[in-house]
């Protein structure tokens, strides 16, 4: 009766990885103007040292990024002025040259129309990589990494490819330092706090085996969704049963569906049976930015900071009362 039932796990996984979606844009007109129209700016989140771009012939000057995470990395390492066009979901940082291009339904002709010398993608959908290579364009396929070192590796690869090796190394060091400092701020606990990370209002969640789950593990939290996908058959993205969630009663609830599905601490509390949850009663429902909580770029540090702050607050309240 209905198409694509088998495709659903795949689609869910892709959508959850979050970033690489967008609109098809066959109408995009090729731009023949010169590159580097965007003045170089240092992104606010990660102050790097002054941009001293190495202008060699090999360094790409017309980069197209179809991956929102890669776009954030490129701008954070000071390669922003070499970026010519980014996909519709790469709207961070604000100065990124957003176009109608799509990483989710890539259109080789539309990409080639920009005459890029480097294309960065997160997924090889519809054989786009071989299509671009056939057109003689250098591509970097950077899949969603499985862990934080994977993010560091991608930042360094991009630094090398764009002539910003030093900035990339600095960025990684800064991220590592901040993450270490955040982890050190977490007080020791006898029993770890538990959490539930919500991807949408149908109770799709993540297990500890995912990149997102690893961030929470750094904060010393235990995931109530792990029981729902012990063997990873759901790709780490199971749909939880509501009554299980009420029974598991996590200490902390993180909503990563505040944008997609307009959820909030109030709408969560209004769901049937959810008013009984300890996290709701104690005010431990944290509204996340969907994007920050689904990309693997430099802002994972911001994500961890939010998680650690919530954990420490809940932990302090817990020991204060018991």
């Amino acid at each position: 009766m209905l198409r694509a039932r088998k495709l659903v796990p795949v689609i869910v996984a892709i959508a959850m990885l979050g970033a690489a979606c967008g609109d098809d844009a066959p109408e995009t007109t090729p731009q023949t103007t010169s590159s580097a129209t965007v003045p170089s700016e240092v992104p606010s989140t990660e102050p790097t040292q002054t941009t001293e771009t190495v202008e060699t012939a090999d360094v790409p000057q017309r980069i197209v990024s179809l991956s929102p995470s890669a776009t954030e990395m490129l701008f954070a390492i000071g390669a922003g002025d070499q970026v010519l066009a980014v996909d519709a979901f790469s709207y961070f940082p604000p100065e990124a040259p957003v176009t109608e291009l799509s990483g989710f339904q890539p259109n080789v002709e539309a990409i080639v129309g920009y005459d890029p010398d480097l294309v960065v993608l997160s997924d090889d959908i519809d054989d786009v990589v071989s299509g671009l290579q056939a057109a003689g364009i250098t591509t970097m396929l950077m899949n969603a990494p499985v862990d934080i070192p994977g993010t560091y590796a991608q930042i360094e690869q991009l630094g090398e490819a764009t002539g910003h090796t030093a900035e990339a190394t600095d960025l990684v060091e800064q991220m590592q330092t901040t993450i270490d400092r955040l982890i050190a701020s977490i007080p020791e606990r006898e029993t770890p706090l538990t959490y539930y990370h919500e991807l949408d209002d149908q109770l799709y969640s993540v297990t500890s085996k995912t990149f997102i789950g690893e961030i929470y593990a750094l904060a010393g939290l235990t995931n109530v969704a792990d029981a729902a996908d012990p063997d990873g058959a759901a790709g780490g993205y199971p749909q939880l049963s509501a009554e299980y969630l009420v029974d598991a009663d996590p200490d902390l609830i993180f909503l990563a569906d505040t944008v997609c599905c307009a959820q909030s601490a109030a709408s969560l509390a209004a769901r049937p049976g959810f008013d009984q949850l300890s996290a709701v009663k104690a005010g431990n429902v944290i509204e996340l930015d969907d994007d920050i909580a689904s990309r693997w770029g430099p802002r994972i540090v911001d994500f961890l900071e939010t998680v650690v702050a919530a954990t420490n607050a809940a932990s302090a309240a817990d020991t204060g009362t018991s």
Partner: protein, 358 residues
């Protein structure tokens, strides 16, 4: 019952066995529905002792006051999560199966189901538009998605009905079916286009399309109830006319019936019920196609049996499959549409083989 029945005009019409609703089957159907409801309250990913659930049920009866010993969160699970879901399953399953039986009767086509005239495609488009436009997000008074799906479904059926029947002539059943197929394909194309243009809402749209018995409490039950009552009443009153229609348009007309009018009334009521069911639960396949066939195999072809028993057994079937959806991979959920086909298809084949051997 004999092989010959006498209709309203006193004419003798040849009819196979089961021309009246047999008390045994009626009692059996009610028992199946009630049994499924009780099981639905007992079973779930969180194990709660059935005895305590029974005490809790008794406690809700007037006068009786028992302490069931359930914790606050267990009580919330039984009353806020399981109870509305079970009742919703009963209504949705009953409506899909009952209107499926009516569709099959009207079209005299074993492949007919409630989605034949574009209800699924229309509801899908309505829901997709509501989801991607984000109307009413966070307002919370009325969820716009079921409303949009309901309107979409009715618009689709009305379009198919108008395109498939020609003024002044009694449109044949097959032109109506073909119009329905065309309308459904067109709306599905629009729906797919809208969905692809809004990839960020893909997960929500798919989640809706797959069908689920929502966990948003009694709201959906309240939305569905009036349409359920209307559909059940009209279809139950139409069983005699459907039996006459079964012998063919010309024959029915020679018996003084107006086949077109009967078709309109029955299809209208069945579509209203199915559209309301789809609006609150998404597209749950198979129930509307298979349950009426199984009922027919077991009890006979008369609509006097098939329609009421399809309501009862359809409701019971969906409640039971939802128990499986909740528990098989607990604490994860499975899409209920997967279960309805997975359990239903082999069961149906079994019935089919036994029927042909007999």
């Amino acid at each position: 019952m004999g092989a010959v029945a006498v209709d309203e005009q006193g004419l003798r019409v040849a009819l196979p066995r089961g021309t009246r609703l047999e008390t045994g089957w009626l009692v059996g159907g009610i028992a199946a529905a009630l049994g499924a409801v009780v099981l639905g309250l007992w079973l779930g990913p969180v194990s709660i002792p059935p005895g305590r659930v029974m005490l809790e049920l008794l406690d809700r009866l007037p006068v009786i006051d028992i302490d069931s010993g359930l914790s606050v969160s267990d009580r919330a699970i039984v009353w806020d999560l399981r109870a509305p879901r079970v009742v919703l399953g009963l209504l949705v399953g009953g409506l899909l199966a009952g209107s499926g039986a009516a569709y099959q009767g009207v079209f005299r086509n074993p492949l007919a189901d409630p989605y034949l005239l574009g209800i699924a495609a229309g509801a899908g488009l309505g829901a997709t538009l509501a989801i991607v436009s984000g109307v009413g997000d966070g307002i919370g008074v009325v969820d716009p998605v079921p409303l949009a799906a309901f309107v979409g479904a009715l618009v689709a059926v009305a379009a198919a009905g108008m395109l498939g029947t020609r003024r002044g002539r009694s449109g044949t059943a097959s032109t109506l079916i073909l119009a329905g197929v065309a309308v459904a394909s067109f709306l599905t194309a629009v729906q797919t286009y809208v969905q692809q243009r809004h990839a960020e809402s893909l997960r929500q749209v798919y989640s809706w399309l797959l069908g689920r018995l929502s966990t948003s409490g009694w709201g959906e039950v309240g939305l569905l109830a009036p349409y359920a009552v209307a559909c059940v009443v009209v279809l139950t009153l139409s069983v005699g006319a459907l039996d006459v229609l079964a012998v063919g348009d010309d024959e029915a007309a020679s018996l003084g019936m107006r086949p077109r009018r009967v078709r309109l009334v029955v299809l209208g009521a069945a579509s209203l019920g199915a559209a309301a069911a789809v609006a609150v639960s998404g597209l749950i396949g198979f129930v509307g196609l298979i349950v009426p066939h199984v009922v027919r195999r077991l009890t006979g072809v008369s609509h006097r049996q098939v329609i009421p028993l399809s309501f009862l057994f359809g409701g019971a079937f969906l409640v039971l499959t939802d128990i499986a959806a909740r528990t098989v991979q607990a604490p994860a959920e499975l899409p209920i549409g997967v279960i309805t086909a997975f359990i239903g298809a082999p069961f149906f084949l079994l019935i089919l083989r036994r029927g042909s051997e007999a």
